[in-house]
């Protein structure tokens, strides 16, 4: 998981750096305009145990590609992201959730 995460993040950064500086600024502004308050869904709904059996709870955190949505996008708190990650991986073993989708 860690390696995987690092990889994808590294790729994203590299791309941004490689692009023109103007593009970076634009992205920053766009973020400012569309930024919302991000709260952890699990904290709000007071879910203490994220179960791999609740596919309905897990699917919002899995975009089309099948990857686990990073915290910086979903806004999940560290504690719950950790639990979510374990739950998603368990669900994957049981073929409740795909590993990859193309």
């Amino acid at each position: 998981m860690n390696d995987y995460d690092k990889d994808s993040r590294g790729g994203g950064r590299g791309g941004a750096k490689g692009a023109a500086k103007g593009k970076d600024d634009k992205a920053g502004r766009r973020g400012g305009l569309f930024r919302r308050r991000r709260v952890c869904k699990f904290c709000v709904e007071k879910i203490d145990y994220v179960s791999y059996k609740d596919v309905k709870v897990l699917t919002p955190f899995i975009p089309e590609r099948g990857k686990i949505q990073p915290r910086r996008i979903s806004g999940t708190c560290a504690k719950h992201q950790r639990a979510l990650q374990v739950a998603i991986k368990r669900a994957r073993t049981l073929a409740l959730i795909p590993y990859v989708t193309d």
Partner: protein
Amino acid sequence: MHRQYELVYIAMPDSTEEQLAELHQQVATVVDRFSGTIERTEMWGRRRLAYEINRQREGVYVLEILNGPGAMTTELDRRLRVLDIVMRHLIIRIDEVLAKETRTQTRRKAATVSRRLRRGLPAEPTEQELSRRKAEADDADGGDGFGEGDR
């Protein structure tokens, strides 16, 4: 030392009722040998698999809640891996997480009660409050679409 475990296995989609019953019996025998107990069995039935396993697109899911020693899970794991009828299985320990869940929930409830008492409110929310809170929640649902677009 007995602990609680959760076992899920996926049987081949073409397995018959008898085969499933026999499989369950085999699990029960192992559990019995380790002087454990089966607390609950849930048949989820046929489900679509998210990806192909053994060239199958569907599988029969069965969940069992077991009480028993750790050695029991090793044995179950070994046996289930050998059986051809079982495509996939997963055993996880649940007693600790469940205990943790109830602990946090009771603590949270206690905190709410003491907070309310400090404010001079009755310990339990009154019916008026409940209905108002529900109305607010319904409002928010239709409102800004918060939470949906973010993901």
